[in-house]
Amino acid sequence: MTIIKYLSQKNSAILSHKTLQPLNNMKKTLSLCCIILFSTSIFAQKDIQKKIQTQFIMAENGSTILLDEGSFSFTASLSLEGKKNIIIKGKGKDKTILSFKGQTDGAEGIRISNAENITIEDLTVQDSKGDAVKTMNVTGITFRNIKTEWLGEPKATNGSYGLYPVQCEKVLIEGCEAIGASDAGIYVGQSKDIIVRKSRAYHNVAGIEIENSINAEVYENESTENTGGILVFDLPDLILKKGGNTKVFKNNIHHNNFPNFAPKGNIVAKVPDGTGVLILAANHVDIFDNQIINNKSMGVGVISYFTTENKIKDKEYYPYSEAITIRDNNFERQKVKATGRGRFGQIYRFKLRFGKNVPHILWDGIVDDKNPNPVICIKNNKNESFANMDIEHNFKNISRDKSKVVCK
């Protein structure tokens, strides 16, 4: 960004200086020069794209692909396929910038598939038409100091995911930044053995989302100014049916009040603005030692899939949340109303009627009668407050009594 700005300032300075020359033919020469300069820079960019894509294709197992400092524009996805032990390394966030603003080919900025032990670090991926970095079927994938962003106001036409490992094992995301995704900034789907730490997500619909994944640890992240801070979801109709064992701890989850800008049809489009943490049909999630501050609609919400009002056709899918522990967190909020937007907005206004006294922990109250395990338990949170919304009985017995959900 800064480099582009600098260059364009420099160019316009040169131009304005030169155009002071009164001679007409001078102007002609100049515009000719401009055209040549312009076209060579396009050729140069296309050459760089080819060069880098060729490097990605030719990289020998065990090698490092170094990317220079500068801003490079791409018209097609960069893809790495079938490799082992590769490091893709730039000169740093905001120093090596891969811009996909003019992309006409491919559904993601960078795509890495069918690989082992891949590290991608120290670079920025900007304005891809679809997802910024998607990795699929990779065992051992590390994202380090990567920034993914869509410039300008967050909008529905931005790509869906910033960092997007799916069906991967041994995933490490650290020191990353994800901005402006119209779905989730950092999204781990249908994966196993995951760490997301020391990263920052803002101006996304969901900051960090763990979906249908097993053994995830999400810690020491900052998730702010998203619609929802951290989401742990299990959804139907997928190959990896059931996630589980997620730890969410020592995160700073604050001011996630950004109006939802996800395109309808996506599950995150249903997340109300003002959500700190939302657990949907997930199991064995331990949420502790987090700062959960000024998320106006809920600090932590725990719901079953029924509450999404989507139909369930998947017979093997378990739609209930189970064994969700919420402990030792610090909750704070200002005395403001929950959101009035969307389906949840209606629920707050017409059913829950909490006014400005919105409880930090919200549960839909839906339990599986056949499952003896408790759905949620809470203890030892600072400023702990709770409500069972009793959605199953159409909000008949909304209760703030937490005695039944205290951890044993």
Partner: protein, 356 residues
């Protein structure tokens, strides 16, 4: 510019050959020029196959921006391929599948000539299938190896006499595997018994290949001694021709169109299995092929619609939205398409509209 281009080519060949030598297996070196393989007579611009290179056609092909395609397969001498009722035929090691993409100058008058764009090879080596792409030069005298992909502009007059101009994407080698992928192994997509079960058809006519156009391709192959275990032809599944109502019901034509255009990814073991949407012709579960299925990671590809397919309502179905789009962040398939297959969209819309 040309020098730079040649330099680039030679560098890629050098690098690619190093890359191929690196592998432990006995890989065949990729050749610099298509003519080096001698699949075609002369420089290959007439696409006249040499002995042992067999042309074939599919009943319902993949849409590739209205490009016409010429397909050939070459088996190693004295080897055969066995019949398989459901999957793509398992061509033996040493086989090459050859596909040339071209645009006639005027789709209404093939005699006015054509422009060859690229010839893609799938080569079956000891350690699996490998993809290579050769791009035709402007002079149409040779096709050169291209590793990193490219974009070209194409011009032609379409079937309705309309002048057309659009971009055409040439894939990079990695992108080939984006589609040609079964459980992370590279694989051909088209030539299944179902798709070959019909007469050979080509915009050029079968005559130049001395194929009697009335004969069924599978029977031809059996007669030539390259196809074994072919059961009675009446029992062989037959893919409908997507745009010929007499060849199958609306459902059959829509399902085979989805199968060839989508199911290389949207199938079990395919790259899009993460979506849970399976568009293979073998899928029988309505939700799995999209009916009232919610999207998983569609993002803005959902187009504010709730389900992949809503019975009777094509304009509320995500699948139609993504087929109509040419935005790379929305459109399906994700690659290999710069234009909308209007006739394909119409077929799928009609299919959805007719659902009760």
């Amino acid at each position: 510019m040309k020098k730079v281009f040649l330099l680039f080519i030679s560098i890629s060949i050098f690098a690619l050959s190093a890359f191929y030598q690196k592998s432990d297996h006995d890989s065949i070196m990729p050749k610099e020029k298509l003519s080096d393989y001698q699949f075609f007579e002369g420089n290959g611009s007439e696409q006249k196959p040499t002995k042992g290179v067999l042309p074939y056609s599919l009943n319902t092909p993949l849409f590739s921006d209205y490009a016409e395609k010429l397909r050939f397969v070459k088996l190693p001498d004295n080897q055969t391929v066995a019949y398989n009722a459901t999957e793509v035929l398992d061509f033996p090691v040493g086989s090459t599948i050859i596909k040339t993409f071209y645009y006639p100058n005027d789709f209404r008058k093939p005699e006015l000539g054509r422009k060859l764009i690229e010839t893609r090879l799938l080569i079956h080596e000891e350690d699996g299938w490998k993809a290579l792409d050769y791009v035709w030069n402007d002079e149409q005298t040779e096709a050169y190896l291209e590793v990193a992909g490219d974009t070209k502009e194409v011009n032609y007059i379409d079937v309705n006499g309309k002048k057309k101009k659009h971009e055409y994407g040439i894939p990079n080698i990695n992108q080939c595997k984006g589609c040609h992928n079964r459980n992370e192994k590279m694989s051909p997509i088209g030539p299944s018994a179902r798709q070959l079960n019909g007469v050979f058809h080509s915009s050029l006519g079968g005559e130049q290949y001395s194929i009697k156009s009335a004969d069924n391709q599978l029977i031809n192959w059996q007669k030539l001694g390259i196809l074994t275990n072919l059961p009675a032809i009446e029992t062989v599944p037959k893919a409908a021709v997507w745009n010929k109502p007499e060849s199958g019901s609306l459902d059959e034509r829509a399902r085979i169109w989805l199968d060839i255009n989508c199911a290389h990814c949207h199938r079990k073991g395919g790259p899009a299995q993460t979506s849970g949407l399976n568009l293979s012709i073998h899928e029988t579960e309505p939700i799995a092929y999209g009916i009232l299925k919610t999207p998983v990671a569609a993002g803005r590809g959902s187009g504010n619609r709730n389900y992949d397919i809503v019975r009777g309502k094509p304009d509320e179905s995500i699948i139609v939205y993504r087929m109509e789009s040419t935005d790379p962040g929305i459109m399906m398939p994700e690659v290999g398409r710069k234009t909308t297959h209007k006739e394909g969209v119409e077929l799928i819309k009609e299919w959805i509209k007719a659902m009760k």
